[in-house]
Amino acid sequence: MRRGSGPGLAIAAVAGISLLVALGLALPVYWVYLLTTVAIAALIARSVGLLTNQAGLITLCQMAFAAIGGWVVSWIALAWPGAPFLLLVLLGGVAAASVGLLLGLATARIRGVELAVVTLGFGAALDLVLRQGAFPGVGSGTPVIPSAPFDDPRWFFALCWAILLVLQSGSALLGRTAHGLGWAAIRTSERAAAALGMRVGRAKASAFGVGSLFAGVAGGLLAGQYGLLTTAVFTPLASMMHLVTAVLCGASLFSGAVLAGVFSVFMPEALRRLGLPLDVGNALLAIGAFDVLRRGGGGIAEQARAKLQDRAFRGARVACELPGAGGSPKSRDLPPSSERGTVLRAGYRSTAQRDPARRGDRHSRQACLEISGLSVSYGGNRALDAVDLTVRAGEVHALIGSNGAGKTTLIDAVTGFATAHSGIVRVDGAEIDRLSAQKRADRGVRRTFQQGRAIEALSVGDYLRLAVAAESGGRAAETERVRSVSAYFGLPDANVPIRLMDAGSRRVLEIAGALASGPRVLLLDEPAAGSAETESRALAELVRRIPAEFGCTVLLIEHDMGFVRAAATRVTVLDDGRVLAEGAVDEVLADPRVVAAYLGEEVAR
């Protein structure tokens, strides 16, 4: 479970370890042997779970990494009889991890089905190579014999489970760092991860590295378990079976991995005792996995955890409670507030009405974001055509225009997501248009997306920590900023899973995350899309106050003119990739050319 259940977790850990010790001492050797295999299979399941369930990278080659570990262990054991077995296993793991890291780095720009096919090919190729020669020691009939005391099955059992627990704890700790949280981010969307300042390529490579470390260690342990390894254990089909089992059991979690280990050991055992053919087990696991995929709610362990979470957060507030949105706090058993109560008539108050002083000083501010001559083409289609736009420090500047006018393209180009653009983008006077999206995020250029991209697998607190991680302003400052944005947007508690939040609240969380990193300029792409009027109004008020509260400049795309009037001081109108008008909100919205652009009248251009 997540934070907040610390004592429970400790009790469970102590109970689990005691049970293992008891089983290891009490059971007959044959059962101890089976339970040892469970630990090894759980390691492999965990390695698949880390890559596929956590980071969203489909891997069809985990047994190839295990084979590398097993080969290294067999080879060293043959060359150096009596070597400490733990060292051998470690070396096997490191060897597999290095190969995994290399594969991850090489395939950084390959994704989705292509990556899956590449892993399949890697596994198949390695399998072919291995088949040409037997594992070291097989030819001469020299088995790997673990050094004492691990030549005793009960000690070997203890070793395997200890390694599983240590590696799991290590990966869990890593998973709590920004880097580990990033695995969930790249699964959701590489763009969203990059917009948070994450190095996507590095996160993928490290996922492969850590995943293959697990698999390599498991392969080394298998060498100790079997003595002599055969290639039949490490075929691509075996890799596929581990993927299927990991998907079925939900191996992003430790419990799921252990369950996968239990399935892959005791299913064949049970079938054998029933006198049934073993491949029936594969078919049963596959059908189970099919059902899991069909439902789309995660594997067995993941579903169980989701149910526990549902129960734990029943009645808790899981939606953002925007100050000023009114109404009682939303709790899970009530319909979303957008469906309750009366929707008020448009009741925005414009910025100009509220602080008339703001209009006077607009020439005294200096530029925060300067765009000059920005052009972007997509496949011969000019989306932006020599756009000049200056956003002054400390203002909320709106960008409006009809569909296809190029608003989102402009945000993409400024934040580093447009593939090719010409023109200059400056932030605080420094040119940023040669930098990668991640570097721009580091420089304090943050954005949100039109389609919400909050990371479902994380909790609110984890998401915010991930969002601020790239910014190294010191722990205390970070914590303080997270605290202040949480209060500002009325976010739910830090341990609330994002999964439970409604789509509107997730969008607010994304804004909060971007703001928590302490950006210089924040680009919001339709923050109020789909929210009901009361929330939309409250959000507009919050956006209006962002520069004053957080010292951050805002560029805002929004279609709801009420929102624009309430939040922004100045506005730029884009029409067909060009700037049609720019100026104070009221003046621009009264401009006949802008009115014409919105009504589609024939005007001389």
Binding site: A346, N403, A503, M561, V564, L599
Partner: protein, 233 residues
């Protein structure tokens, strides 16, 4: 003989975009649906046509319920939908685009009669047509299904006003043959000139329904309240 929606609620990506919509599209006339970007117009059409499932409410065409039918069965019942963004099959020629629905001579002739420009380009790939020609093709293709009711989303998007007029005239002619048209527009002027009744959407609801002529006369009020969200008072 109409398309009607009652209490229609449509969700997209977990968000309720259209709430409790009541709408009637009579045959033989053009009904106009206005609203700013993001008001929920396209989502409403997606719900009517079956692209998105209906979360609540009912849809009927000529007395038959369409609420639970998949899109292709709704099309078979006489509902055609011209989606936003000129959805031609770009790799297919003009003629092939029409043949997807119907390969008969009659369909080709009727399409080319309606839009003579298409006849000249019948063997050109649709991806190479101009925006206006693509929109003509999409309308002709929808008509090849012999619809009772035609839903059109953002006819004018990215097109020159002159081209839009040509298309609008085609729709007027179509309505005269007894087809019902629901025309969704972000740009109000032209649509109001050809339509009979208009509905205005804001934040997922229909907030005003009136005769097109009335709205046209009342242009400024329409603008301020529904497009530009001007302050109260």
């Amino acid at each position: 003989m109409t398309l009607s929606a009652t209490g229609l609620t449509v969700r997209r990506g977990g968000l309720t975009i259209c709430r409790d919509i009541d709408l009637v599209v009579p045959v033989g006339e053009i009904t106009v649906l206005l609203g700013a970007n993001g008001a929920g117009k396209s989502t409403l059409l997606d719900g009517l046509s079956g692209v998105l499932p209906v979360a609540a409410g009912a849809i009927h065409l000529d007395g038959h319920s369409l609420t639970r039918l998949p899109p292709h069965r709704r099309a078979a019942r006489g509902l055609a939908y011209v989606e936003q963004g000129r959805t031609v099959f770009e790799r297919l020629t003009v003629r092939q685009n029409l043949a997807v629905v119907d390969r008969s001579r009659r369909t080709l002739d009727r399409s080319f009669e309606l839009f003579p420009r298409l006849a000249e380009k019948r063997d050109i790939r649709a991806g190479l047509l101009s925006g206006g020609e693509q929109q003509m093709l999409v309308i002709a293709r929808a008509l090849a299904t012999d619809p009772r009711v035609l839903l059109v989303d953002e006819l004018s998007l990215g097109l020159a006003p002159r081209v839009v007029r040509t298309l609008m005239e085609a729709l007027v002619g179509l309505a005269a043959t007894g087809v019902g048209v629901l025309l969704v527009e972000q740009y109000a002027q032209l649509a109001l000139e050809v339509g009979t009744t208009a509905h205005v959407m804001r934040q997922g609801r229909i907030v005003r329904s009136a005769a097109c002529a009335t709205l046209l006369a009342d242009r400024d009020a329409l603008l301020s309240s529904h497009y530009f969200g001007s302050p109260i008072g």
